[in-house]
């Protein structure tokens, strides 16, 4: 009987919350043969006990895009949701670029998008500049958002769907020890609650929940509590510069990417337009100590275009380079930056954070039958399975691109040369904007492969000559 609930609950998600009681009553009518037959297919939730008198309690630690999306989906699914965020007006340092599909998938209102970037300029080490974006259709763009605006919008939407937003700092978590009864024992979260009444220091509180989603970013404490392991990370350093209006016109809907050893040995420098200023920054994994030098070089490369600008803010943040060794432990799952879901090559993380938060929440809602029963690790594993299956090709392709094209200056020159090709631009934007690795026309792919090899060979040949010069 329990299996049929798990089976039917998938359709139950589509209906309003009035439905589940009806399904619940139906289960008594299911005959034993069906039960035995379905047992082979479904392993999740069979032995999970039904929760008495209450719904499943899930805490989401961290209120960024991942946390907000997760909390919204959980709350909509009928689960008692707690969203713990330490700074509700946090102005996060971030590139702030979101792909077109995010606007549709997450129903984002267009007024939270400050700018629609429709042109990009790639600039090679020898200052060969290539414009990309001619293949974009009129309705396609890369949205630039302010993180504080996006994050608070998602959080408020979660709250309006029934999530309890708590302004507090997560300290640690008591994990139920193994053994009998541990499948239902709650996780005890210790946090400091900040509310205006008590004052600055905050009040220590605890909260008992059945499952935890760790969405607390690159320095995740939840990850530490479950021993998720470490990852390599890049440091992204950024300066927000307010430039004169006539120079700002150039960046109206254009973003720039600078590549070169002077700018970063393994990443790129950027100039991204924000609401009324530009963000000039760079990043690196292997040479974190030289980040200031790289930043100066980036500013130098963009010098003519940002001349007369004033630096209004300097910020830095870590960017994970790959997922943590353990993204899941019992009933605790990591999503977003905490899990390490940032792509290589472009360093994009906002969309993947929100999507993974949503996917994890969906897995919990499904595994618990809209909050009616306890979940266990296998329910959460389903989220990992779905995630890896859907986005592994994207991550792998970007990893290959980074390995091939960010290796050395000749490789970067070849990269910029390749970007001048229209087919490349179309493929790049299609896969970036819609997050699908689309196999293109095989003949064009072959031509592209040929041209890539040609560019790489030419650039490396030039570099060999350059080495001969210095001797």
């Amino acid at each position: 009987m329990t299996s049929s609930i798990a089976f039917k609950s998938f359709t139950g998600l589509r209906h309003s919350s009035a439905e589940p009681p009806k399904l619940h009553s139906q289960l008594h009518n299911i005959s034993p043969p069906n039960y035995c037959q379905r047992r082979l297919q479904i392993t999740a939730g069979i032995s999970s006990p039904k929760l008495q008198n209450r719904n499943l309690r899930v805490a989401v630690i961290g209120g960024g895009p991942a946390g907000g999306a997760a909390a919204e989906t959980l709350a909509k699914g009928g689960i008692e949701t707690y969203l713990i965020e330490r700074k509700l007006d946090n102005c996060k340092p971030c590139g702030g670029a979101i792909p077109l599909c995010m606007v549709g998938e997450f129903d984002l209102p267009l007024d939270i998008i400050d700018r629609k970037v429709t042109k990009m300029k790639m600039i090679s080490p020898s200052n060969i500049a290539v414009d990309i974006g001619q293949t974009l259709k009129p309705h396609e763009y890369i949205g630039m958002v302010r993180r504080e605006v996006l994050d608070s919008y998602l959080r408020e939407r979660a709250a309006s769907n029934g999530a309890n937003v708590i302004n507090g700092l997560f300290l640690k978590m008591d994990i139920p020890k193994g053994g009998r009864g541990s499948e239902t024992a709650p996780y005890v979260l210790h946090y400091t609650e900040y509310n205006g009444k008590v004052g600055g220091a905050g009040q220590k509180k605890t909260l008992e929940v059945d499952a935890v989603i760790g969405a607390d970013g690159a320095n995740s404490r939840v990850a530490k509590s479950i021993g998720a392991g470490d990852y390599d990370y890049a440091i992204a350093f950024q300066e927000r510069i307010r430039i004169p209006d006539d120079k700002m016109v150039y960046y109206e809907n254009l973003a720039e990417m600078y590549v070169g050893d002077d700018v970063s040995p393994d990443f790129y420098g950027w100039v991204f337009p924000k609401c009324d200023h530009v963000a000039v920054g760079t990043g690196t994994v292997t040479h974190k100590g030289d980040i200031k030098k790289f930043q100066l070089a980036t500013r130098n490369r963009a010098k003519d275009k940002i001349l007369g600008g004033k630096i209004i803010r300097v910020e830095a943040h870590p960017i994970p380079e790959h997922p943590r060794p353990r993204r899941l432990s019992d009933r605790v799952a990591l999503v977003g930056d905490a899990a390490g879901y940032v792509t290589k090559c472009s360093g994009e993380g906002i969309y993947f954070a929100a999507k993974s938060g949503r996917m994890c929440a969906e897995a919990i809602v499904e595994g618990s039958g809209n909050g009616k029963r306890m979940v266990d690790e296998s329910d959460l594993r389903k989220y990992l399975e779905k995630w890896d299956k859907t986005y592994w090709p994207t991550y792998k392709v970007l990893d290959v691109l980074q390995k091939v094209f960010y290796r050395s200056n000749p490789a970067r020159e070849a990269f910029v040369e390749m970007c001048a090709d229209e087919y490349v631009q179309k493929m790049t934007f299609d896969s970036y904007l819609y997050k699908k690795v689309v196999p293109g026309n095989p003949l064009d792919d072959l031509k592209l492969a040929f041209n890539t090899i040609g560019s790489l060979v030419r650039a490396n040949a030039l570099r060999k000559e350059m080495n001969k010069l210095s001797v």
Binding site: P125, S126, N127, I128, A129, G229, Y231, I241, Y250, Y258, G260, D261, D262, V263, D290, K292, L296, A297, R299, N300, R301, A302, K303, D304, K305, I306, L307, G308, G309, K310, I311, H322, P323, R324, P325, R326, L328, S329, R381, L384, D388, W392, Y395, K396, D399, N409, E413, E417, A420, G454, S455, V457, R458, A459, A461, L462, E465, M466, L469, S470
Partner: protein, 258 residues
């Protein structure tokens, strides 16, 4: 003074930006224009060593320039004005850049009409010029500007020019190695087993050895290549391993749960 006169006369106005260049480059550029052929090899390395260390050498740079300034004796006003315009952007870290200048580099690309030799374009000279430009820029990164963008594309140099210059010498070397190895091994195998060359070609084991020899000659060209190949192999699978790490967990825990 006469040197500076000859400098300012020929090229288009954009190149007057050189006026706020640092001192050592100024003298190098004058030699450059008077006799384009030989001193390029002298001037380019000299220039790169001066600025080789990049931005972090900004503090030492002005001092070095001061020392060389005395013999050159050119005007300092150009430098001060550029300091004024740069100061607004950021702190004193931004150092003065001298732009890459060459009479054949016009409008952000190489002017092919200036590379004529015997009626047709001397592609080798174009390649040399681009190499020098990239070498210069590696040591002295320039700001990319919208007013004179770089639009040079290496694919305008025809494929046969690349092959003649880069592929053919390397191909000759590799074919030579393959031939030496082939002859020697054929002789050794013949003397040891008595199997002649034609019969060796029909033998599967010998064909395998031949395949390995050809692959080895192609892939391993320097001693370091062996290490490089091993690292490449690790690299291709490393990212996959990082993603699979969370699943190693599952097989362990699911086996204990049962």
């Amino acid at each position: 003074m006469s040197i500076s006169m000859s400098f300012f006369s020929p090229p288009p106005p954009t190149h007057l930006l050189i006026s706020f260049s640092s001192k050592p480059h100024f003298t190098d550029k004058t030699i450059f224009f008077l006799r384009p052929a030989n001193p390029l090899l002298l001037s380019a390395p000299k220039v790169s060593t001066d600025n080789g260390a990049g931005i972090s050498a900004a503090i030492e740079e002005p001092k070095a320039e001061q020392k060389v300034a005395e013999p050159a004796g050119s005007a300092p006003e150009g430098e001060e004005s550029s300091l004024g315009s740069n100061g607004a952007v950021a702190d004193a870290g931004v150092k003065l850049e001298s732009k890459f200048v060459d009479p054949r580099w016009i409008g952000g690309t190489w002017d092919l009409t200036q590379f004529q030799k015997d009626g047709s374009t001397d592609w080798d000279a174009v390649i040399d010029a681009e190499v020098r430009r990239r070498k210069w820029l590696e040591g002295n990164p320039e700001s990319s500007s919208n007013d004179d963008p770089v639009v040079f594309d290496t694919s305008i140099i025809p494929w046969w020019a690349w092959i003649k210059r880069f592929h053919l010498p390397e191909a000759e070397r590799l074919n030579g190695r393959a031939a030496m190895i082939g002859f020697f091994m054929a002789y050794v195998v013949d003397s040891l087993t008595g199997v002649g060359l034609v019969d060796q070609m029909n033998n599967f084991f010998c064909k395998t050895l031949l395949f390995i020899a050809v692959a080895g000659v192609l892939l391993i060209r320097k001693n370091e290549d062996i290490e490089t190949l091993k690292k490449l192999l690790d690299e291709t699978t490393f990212y996959d391993k990082q993603w699979q790490a969370t699943w190693q967990d599952e097989t362990r825990s699911s086996s204990t749960a049962e």
